[in-house]
Point group: C2
Chain length 407, copies 2
């Protein structure tokens, strides 16, 4: 059956009667859906862009948007909600594109050497770039909102607090933070819980920033940061945390990661894994979104909840608690998008228009997948072997209000 762009749009309109939008085509025609004024307009400046969108899904959409042959006005989320529909995801990517994706997948496999390159490509755009739109603690991961009205600053501090509470972190305990970013969790655990924290990262700029931050805040007795691969770190810790790093491990290395976590924890020690994941068996064997892999996270892999838990179980890491914070990530991304757009002129001056368009559509795409699509944010609490002293209830996990930001 011939699948034209208009056919697909009209088929989707049937399934999403509450979505109102307009599609301005290259030939001057406009297709509208919904019974109310459109809340977005998608401009397709060429037939080629429409064809790539239909054939290559997010890869075509992302590349055409970056190139400026697609523009979007109004509420991008409502547009992307349609994009989450299976009809757009079940695209027929040409064999040549598939071959390119597969080669890039092989090239980006997270060997110890390649991991550093993969990480650097995303996190070493310059700390001043991230400082323009992240909260002051520079948490580049899902925050924890007590209410949707919470500020981003408060919600990131609340995330740190929630994790410390789940981990039952005690003064003087040692904590390992794999993928420590710019040190936000480390500083919180040191200041509020008097913990001794080792953080490791593969980003040179994160490493330099965190080293300087530890010095500036006078926390050298409690905090240590290393430019190191998780496979190379040694020692035994009371507690373990990893926030938004597991997505970089890759399917092939999940068992290696769990084996290492097991080795690094003391018997009975508690760990918290905070990671994006999927619960959906559909597309189980795929290598994730090809546009994201190509432009945003080379070597990245969104793990399935069951494969995380199986790998834990195989290494005697006992799952105690799982919380799905999916909608918190949609809120977090909403803040980042708002702050990014407020600074967009400065960011464009630092980089270029294609970079700005790439980041904008990346943010929006992620927000849409958390809100309407397949991605989740899991916090999984576990112990190394059995831990018979953990509290019976979760009352201690409740985060109170008025957690003040750490300047």
């Amino acid at each position: 059956m011939l699948k034209t762009f208009e056919d697909v749009v009209l088929a989707l309109a049937h399934c999403y009667p509450e979505v109102n939008g307009a599609f301005r085509l290259w030939n001057g025609r406009t297709v509208t859906i919904g019974n109310h004024p459109p809340c977005f307009t998608l401009h397709l400046h060429s037939e080629q862009a429409a064809r790539r969108l239909l054939r290559e899904g997010s890869l075509g959409f992302g590349e055409e948007y970056m190139a400026g042959t697609i523009d979007i006005e109004g509420d991008i989320q409502q547009l992307l909600r349609l994009g989450m529909d299976r009809r757009f995801r079940d695209t027929c990517i040409p064999v040549s594109t598939k071959a390119r994706i597969f080669l890039e997948h092989l090239r980006s496999l997270n060997t110890i050497h390649q991991s550093r390159t993969n990480i650097s490509s995303h996190y070493d755009h310059g700390n001043d770039f991230y400082q323009l739109w992240l909260d002051t603690s520079l948490a580049y991961s899902c925050a924890y909102f007590r209410t949707p009205q919470d500020s981003l600053e408060a919600a990131q501090q609340q995330k740190y607090e929630l994790i410390c509470r789940k981990l039952r972190l005690q003064p003087g305990e040692t904590l390992l933070d794999i993928g420590c970013g710019w040190g936000g969790m480390m500083v919180y655990a040191a200041r509020h819980y008097q913990a001794h924290v080792r953080g490791i990262t593969l980003s040179e700029q994160q490493y330099e920033y965190t080293r300087e931050r530890i010095r500036r805040e006078g926390l050298g007795n409690q905090l240590e940061v290393r430019l190191q691969d998780y496979r190379d770190t040694e020692g035994q810790f009371d507690k373990f945390v990893s926030i938004g790093m597991f997505e970089h491990v890759g399917k092939k290395f999940i068992p290696t990661y769990m084996q290492k976590v097991h080795a690094l924890l003391k018997p009975g020690g508690l760990g918290l894994l905070h990671t994006i994941g999927k619960d959906n068996g559909i597309g189980k064997n795929d290598r994730g979104d090809p546009w994201i892999s190509r432009y945003i996270f080379p070597g990245g892999y969104i793990p399935l909840l069951d494969e995380i838990l199986r790998a834990m179980g195989n290494r005697d890491l006992v799952a105690l608690d799982m919380e799905n914070l999916r909608l918190h990530y949609a809120l977090t991304l909403g803040h980042w998008i708002h702050r990014f757009e407020q600074q967009v002129d400065r960011i464009q001056a630092m980089t270029d228009e294609s970079f700005v368009r790439m980041w904008r559509i990346y943010f929006h795409y992620c927000q849409a997948t958390f809100q309407w699509g397949q991605t989740r944010l899991y916090q999984i609490l576990f112990s190394k072997g059995l831990q018979n002293d953990y509290p019976l209830t979760r009352n201690h996990m409740q985060v109170a209000g008025n957690i003040t930001e750490n300047p």
Copy 2:
């Protein structure tokens, strides 16, 4: 290498220096372990019993204990803690016994016909038997303790309350309870949350009891109980719950079960699965404990956490929250053991000594596996498809004190 009983005991003593116990052998010898007075004594009245214990693990132990060739004085839990050790679990069951186990496994497969027989064999011993040692609501599943000092009555009511809170049960909503037992959850949801509940069970005695209970309590407008297999029930419900029934589904039927749950829930509806499970990859392909399968739960199967979540994901059931209540089940079993022993003379008069010995060792074995071994109790909250209105935090799940028992 020759593996004698004394060798095994002495090897274990090295690994569990805190355990103090005595083993009185058939030949008059006594082996003691630990540096303090023994807290238990295991009497082995024949060499055959010792040999079966070594070769057949729990199957040999259970059968010899039932036959009276093994006796235990003192703290059975400390003895069974040793029994959880891998050296006892890695037993060399003779081929003839293996063949018998496999045939029994085939015979007990949970076809619609066989399920009723399997359920009846455990739950139709007579309601008066269960009333002797369960709480007044007759909850034959893990309770929820706010403190270890909570009474069993309070802890079972708290379990119902916790589930209603996780499910955000609202007045007038419809709830399906698969494996409703003697109706405790149904009555709680009707009385405290004004819900309309359908409960289904395969036990005739549970069905008769629950029907009479609904009539007696005047809840006929809100509650309906059916003697029905889950595969045969129809309709669409706002909420779903299943407490301690999933263990009877069997590995082969897990996808069938999830498909049915998906069909029975309204889009966006919430479900709670409360089930024993395992997180451990070791022994992943085994059919569970052969003694338990033979004597306690024919057709029973302890699912793995990852296989539960994979089956959910494959059916678009989105995991929102998981809580491991393992130690709550150890506490629950402690209450049941205490109450059982208080009534042991009456129970023995109703049945026989072999039955009493079988139930005693079943209870103790289960308590030990929750406390020291491989079994867990998972509460998994999920939604059918995405549910974007669920609260951001878990504050609403917190169970307050002073939940009064429903007489």
